[in-house]
């Protein structure tokens, strides 16, 4: 399904702080799957995100961290145009996926969302059987292969097959929270996306289920590009290759909360040697 990839525009300045070029080895510009440049997102007259410039590297895990209300989820939802569901939301600036202009009226959000999957904060399986949960997305997208095989493959890939193979006709709602979240991941994998967006996928899960999902993410990144929003800094540190720390803009209009990217660096460096004082304050727990 993927078209031959057009030349992705180089994103020269990944850290919006401005100073830091990307370190050797991460090689972001040439392999960026998703990139934004001076992206602004508005809800009505309120500016939610300002001047977001970021490049999401292929086959890596990019974490978005930052205090509550700084627009991490909003940014995530720009990538699959889920903000379209909010009537007052609009965006300006550049945002591209494999060279495709996501902010263009010609870009069809429906076909885009098959290519960029999403896992939500609260596990939200369909009130249908486990089998139907996985098969539905493929079916409505006109999947023409062997459905049984696809369901099994997706559930195996999501490390859930062994737990559910004998009860595929049971309701997805009968599973535990952690299993439900892996079912949601399997459902996303079944439509063969290129990118998986995860919006705090573990915040409703216990530590053991969280560990399983994190293992799974690590396993999946060889085939998929993953962007994860998390409140849990340890989780960002454990799982991600790159981390973007978002902050509230101190200069925002009074009464409005505007998010900006304080720093976007390889995760090791962001946590051990943050360049931005606000990032440092956040990761050491002094703000947020």
């Amino acid at each position: 399904m993927s078209p031959i990839m057009p030349e992705v525009k180089a994103v020269p300045n990944v850290s919006s702080g401005g100073a830091e070029p990307l370190p050797a080895g991460t090689d972001v510009p040439s392999t960026a799957v998703l990139s934004t440049r001076d992206l602004n997102v508005w809800y009505g007259i309120s500016l939610a995100l300002r001047d977001i410039t970021i490049a999401i590297p292929r086959n890596q895990i990019t974490a978005l961290i930052g205090p509550s209300g700084c627009g991490k989820s909003t940014l995530l939802r720009c990538f699959n145009r889920m903000n379209d569901l909010i009537p007052s939301a609009r965006m300006t600036g550049e945002i591209t996926f494999e060279g495709l202009d996501l902010n263009s009226a010609e870009t069809d959000p429906v076909s885009l969302r098959r290519r960029i999957g999403m896992v939500f904060q609260k596990p939200n399986p369909f009130p249908k059987s486990i089998y139907q949960n996985v098969a539905w997305g493929a079916r409505i997208n006109g999947y023409r292969g062997d459905m049984d095989e696809l369901v099994e493959r997706s559930l195996r890939r999501a490390a859930l097959w062994d737990e559910v193979k004998d009860k595929l006709n049971k309701s997805g709602l009968d599973l535990s929270g952690g299993q439900q979240q892996r079912l949601c991941i399997a459902r996303t994998l079944a439509v063969d996306p290129e990118v998986i967006l995860m919006d705090e996928p573990c915040s409703a899960l216990d530590p053991i289920s969280t560990a399983r999902v994190e293992d799974l993410m690590d396993d999946l990144k060889s085939e998929y590009t993953i962007v994860i929003v998390t409140h849990n800094m340890q989780q960002a540190r454990r799982t991600s290759d790159m981390t973007a720390c978002l902050m509230l803009d101190d200069g925002a209009q009074h009464g409005h909360r505007t998010g900006i990217i304080a720093e976007f660096s390889p995760t090791d460096r962001l946590f051990t040697n943050p360049k931005d004082p606000r990032t440092e304050a956040y990761i050491t727990g002094r703000i947020g």
């Binding site: 969302r113 290519r115 999957g117 399986p125 369909f126 539905w136 997305g137 709602l173």
Partner: protein, 303 residues
């Protein structure tokens, strides 16, 4: 006594008020039950006139088989029952699809704003309009065709069906909207995020989840339609024969009950009471069927 008890002195009444409130609510519940029992008892006694249960069933069977007559011993409700069943089918076929469609449009497609609020408010108001007004509307629009003889349907079954369908339409719309609103947005988002179109989301997720609520609305509105008398009197439901087609003149069970009850001969009171029992039986059968269907759908939506 712990040291902090000094700071708290709860009112003694708080332990009494709970049970008092509970008893008050129980009495409120009983009001309905008691009056329904009185009504049922009175009607049963009026119909049976002291006869045994078997004899009462015989009477009801006879009433259901014979048509309207000036002789209380020959009078029955066959035409009314047939007319009511026809009307039921017509209202189901006309009001449910239109009402559900309108609700889906308002909830799923129409952007929120002033226009939607205005439409919403008008539908809520329509639900409160007295049924006799719908009767006048039906008489003017359907029976007389707004004065055009080509559009006029006369006092035909279809005119009655359309009038009742209009009458229950707001109820169907409002109940369906309520049902659609209970579908969690997380379900819609999950489906959208897989690359589904709005139509696919509504067809496969929103609608099945809302179906039990939609069916409840349908049951309520059909029950209302089958009990309505005033609008049918207005559109001229006064036939004495069983209708065979949409253009036939018709009558309905509550209309016949009303007519028998206003006869001077006291023997007709028995006939009217029997008619009430038949109407109640029809209503209960209908509701029971609908509840069974709803429960079955409710289960399969989960499985």
């Amino acid at each position: 006594m712990s040291p902090s008890d000094a700071h708290f002195s709860p009112k003694a009444s708080r332990r009494i008020l709970g049970p008092v409130f509970g008893v008050a609510c129980f009495l409120a519940t009983m009001t309905g039950v008691v009056f329904l029992s009185i009504l049922l008892g009175a009607v049963l006694r009026a119909a049976s006139q002291g006869a045994t249960l078997a004899e009462t069933f015989d009477l009801l069977g006879r009433l259901a088989r014979s048509t309207r007559s000036r002789d209380p011993d020959l009078a029955g409700f066959k035409a009314g029952i047939a007319g009511s069943l026809w009307l039921l089918g017509l209202v189901f076929a006309l009001a449910i699809p239109v009402g559900v469609g309108a609700a889906v449009f308002l909830e799923e497609y129409m952007p929120p704003g002033r226009l939607r609020r205005v439409i919403q408010m008008n539908i809520a108001n329509l639900a409160a309009v007295p049924s006799i007004v719908y009767g006048i509307l039906g008489l003017a629009v359907f029976v007389r065709g707004l004065g055009s003889s080509r559009l006029a349907m006369g006092s035909a079954l279809i005119a009655g069906g359309l009038t009742l369908a209009l009458l229950v339409l707001p109820v169907v719309v409002i109940a369906t909207q309520e049902a659609l609103r209970t579908v969690p947005s997380s379900l819609r988002q999950a489906a959208m995020a897989l690359g589904a179109t709005k139509w696919q989301v509504i067809r496969d997720h929103v609608f099945p989840s809302a179906l039990p609520g939609v069916l409840t609305g349908a049951i309520l509105s059909l029950s209302r339609a089958i009990g309505e008398t005033a609008p049918l009197l207005m559109v001229g439901a006064a036939a004495t024969k069983v209708p065979t087609g949409l253009k036939d003149r018709f009558t309905a069970l509550p209309v016949e009950i009303y007519k028998y009850a206003s006869e001077a001969n006291p023997k007709f009171q028995v006939v009217a009471a029997g008619g009430i029992l038949l109407l109640l039986a029809l209503l209960l059968t209908m509701n029971a069927t609908a509840i069974i269907i709803r429960n079955r759908y409710g289960r399969s939506a989960r499985g």
